[in-house]
Amino acid sequence: MSVATLLLVDDESRILSSLRRALRREGYRILVASTPGEALRVLEAEPIDAILSDHKMPGMSGLELLEVAARARPATVRLLISGWPDAIPEERLAAIGVRAVIPKPWDDAELKRVLADALRSPAG
């Protein structure tokens, strides 16, 4: 299997850089986007194995972004990261096929495990 490509989306650049550092040694190819629009452009231009998006962003929520992604690139694994995971309606998560919601603050080891699991069985 070739190197997996991850797309990280968050309007907070420090989150992006922290996530990037956390995953530095995991051997992924990491792309970042700081707006949902930018994320959609990347998604269109590149093959992405997994997208990990913040939920609360200006303009478009992470859930909405993943909804669009699910239609455009159904094979891409969808994950959310949020400071307020309980506020995200479960039935929507299920409908859009979000594999996991990672809470902020996250645990690096847990984050790596969830990502590795998701990429090992993308369809699950």
Partner: protein, 540 residues
Amino acid sequence: MAAASESGPVRIVVAQPHAPQRLATVEALRRLGGGVHIEVVHDARACIELAGGADLVVVDRGLGGDGRAILSALRGEGPPAVVVTQEATAEAALDTFRAGAADCVTASADYDEVLPAVALEQIRHFRAATARRAVRERIESLERLHGAIIERFPAALAVVDAEGRVVAVNPAFARDFLAAGEAAEGRRLGELLPQDLLETGDLAGLAAEARAGGERAPRIARTQRNGELRAFDARAERLDGQGRTLLVLADVSEREQLKLLQRQVLQSEKMASIGQLAAGVAHEINNPMGFIHANLAQMEEYLADVQRLDERARELAERAARDGSPVVRAAGDRYAALARELDADRLLDEFEQAIRESQEGSERIRHIVQDLRAFSHRDDGQLVDADLNQCLDSTAHIVWTMMKHSVVLRKEYAQLPPLRCRPMQLEQVFMNLIVNAYQAIEQRVRAEGGTGEIVLRTALVEGGVAVQVSDDGVGIPAEHAARIFDPFFTTKEVGEGTGLGLATSFDIVRRHGGTLRACDRPGGGTTFVVFLPLAGPPAQ
């Protein structure tokens, strides 16, 4: 005016059938002065009719039976009757006195002097008696009025003598504090009133103060009756110089209930707005916390790498200093010197310590945010029919190991019907209350030694279920009482409590349509009372 008048002009009725005698009488009475009204009648009927407003009646003995009828009619209530007679015999005079005459005047040469003198004396006497009777009637009517007021006064009244014995109580006192047929007179207030009422109202102090003539702001005395809290506005006042005091206990339970309700509504509004704020703040904090937390973990990892790097470098420097060429040796020495100068060992240790401490801080923030989120969670958990005794039991069980060394747990459960509620949430409330009770006891035990007692009590009350968690701990200082349900209000050490426990509990109970309040436990400590309506939470 000649007559000594109480009020108004003097009126005299003259009942004489024969003109000459009548004329003599009128002439004689005219000598009393112009202010005297004289009315002349000829028979008993007219005389009795007019006598009602008169000060004196003059009756001719010649009227015979009519005369006697007048005398007997006026006897007692009416104006005095003076009988004039032509017969100057003692027997005639005696006869008239027996019939009820006030005096008797014989027609004689000095008739026109004797009659006015006699009339004047009788009028004075009558008017004075009338005035005395009016005063007496006024007094009696006032007494009746006061009696009726005390009888119907809605507050309990008790008059207590200088020795502290009850002299009299009113029906409201009997209604509020005495058993049917129980007498209060001669007994002490301490025997008549419930202990908790005496203590919460400091009624002994109140009475002593009043006896000494001091004034004290009224206070609210409370008593538990049939599981219901009654509040009385208690005041005492000195009644007289003999040390008697009047104790007034007005039942203000409803007013207090209303005040409590208002406070609860205010508190609820505060909660709702703070809940929203808390949720927003929690989310906002989680974003920066997200990378701070992760970065600290990364820094820890990197530091380990730097430590390895440094170890290896120093190893190499040592080897270079030992075995290397002069240039390499010099480089090794320089590295060793720099490591010494920077105190590299300590530097790395302190770096590690700084990371560890920051991690503790970030852990604490995470905790606070978690509590905040729990606080703003609105409708967690399923609505089910639950047994509150069981909820209370399982909660107490969880914390029991922590408390068992210093606390005796007593359970007084009533049979309860199943209650529609969110049991997980209520267990959180019970947990908060029990842990608070334990901490209050711990505080006291630390200062005084010994052990404490927590009483868990459930009762079926009107419209719902009451759950009480009662402790004999340090109690809540009066200055904190109004703030204990405020979010972030805490008396615990920094880092030990977020001040959200009671605020969250209050909110949960409110969402169940119930109330949560705290009151002083008689004898020290605190009782928290959760009331939950049988109807379950209101529709949202």
